[in-house]
């Protein structure tokens, strides 16, 4: 009896429940897009979320990889979205739209970015570090998550590339 109970308890821990649905976001302020982008409008596309802030060197050093992903995979069905999440209160300037816009221009970022000044999307996704990444499949399910800086051509860049290609092929 004890063995059966143990097995039942373990089933959810083995991840048999499958990928979980990605939480909807409802950020009101966006850059690089005419209208807010919603997850439920992106069915059939693979979505890569990048939680970042322009004051984080690890984040800005990763941007060239993301710009390359956007250039390479957007026509094939990837939507890359930056979720700009401040580290400090407003006095530090990370909340200012003009400062975010300046950073997008400086780093040649053309994909949509949401300002997550109240950290609501950050919290819904359970994010803790800058930069963080969430890869969502065509059915709106979270398939991969990761953290930390990477660069064009390095092992982590190639790992994300393989993941994106695998989800685009599904």
């Amino acid at each position: 009896m004890r063995a059966i109970l143990s097995a039942l308890v373990c089933i959810p821990l083995l991840g048999l429940s499958g990928p979980r649905p990605a939480p909807q976001w409802d950020n009101a302020t966006w850059l690089n897009t005419d209208a807010p982008v919603r997850l439920d409008q992106l069915g059939g596309r693979v979505v890569l979320l990048n939680f970042w802030v322009f004051t984080c060197g690890n984040c800005t050093r990763t941007v060239p990889s993301l710009v390359e992903f956007d250039r390479e995979y957007r026509p094939r069905g990837l939507t890359l979205i930056g979720i700009h999440t401040p580290e400090f209160p407003p006095y530090a300037g990370e909340h200012d739209k003009a400062n975010v816009a300046q950073a997008l221009e400086r780093y040649d970022i053309a994909y949509p970015n949401a300002q997550d000044n109240d950290r609501r999307t950050w919290s819904r996704y359970g994010i803790r570090y800058w930069p963080s990444f969430v890869l969502i499949d065509k059915r709106g399910r979270i398939r991969y998550e990761g953290v930390g800086e990477f660069h064009v051509g390095d092992a982590t860049h190639r790992k994300w590339e393989r993941r994106i290609e695998a989800l685009l092929a599904e």
Partner: protein, 94 residues
């Protein structure tokens, strides 16, 4: 990480001392949110060549000789990780 009092060029200062193997983010300098509502930014100190981190403990001139109480915010990166974390630490310095 902790806040310490010291002197620099004959002036009383406050500095944020990082823990071992930690680099303090210089692009968003540490801040002390003082009781009473004012904010003291620790913006002084040599930076790394890419100006991403402080190469020495960041500091600011001490605004008063009295007690320093409030919340110190620091963005930092451990040298064995490639990511940023943010912390808010209570400070009380006499």
């Amino acid at each position: 990480m902790r806040l310490v009092a010291g002197s620099h060029g004959g002036r009383a200062i406050l500095a944020a001392l990082p823990a071992a193997d930690v680099r303090i983010n210089a692009r968003v300098a540490p801040a002390i949110e003082l009781r009473g509502g004012s904010v003291l930014r620790l913006t002084q100190g040599r930076m790394t060549s890419d100006s991403a981190y402080f190469a020495e403990p960041p500091w600011a001139v001490r605004p008063q000789n009295g007690r320093i109480r409030g919340l110190m915010r620091i963005s930092y990166c451990r040298t064995d990780e490639a990511l940023c974390r943010a912390v808010a630490l209570p400070v009380d310095l006499r």
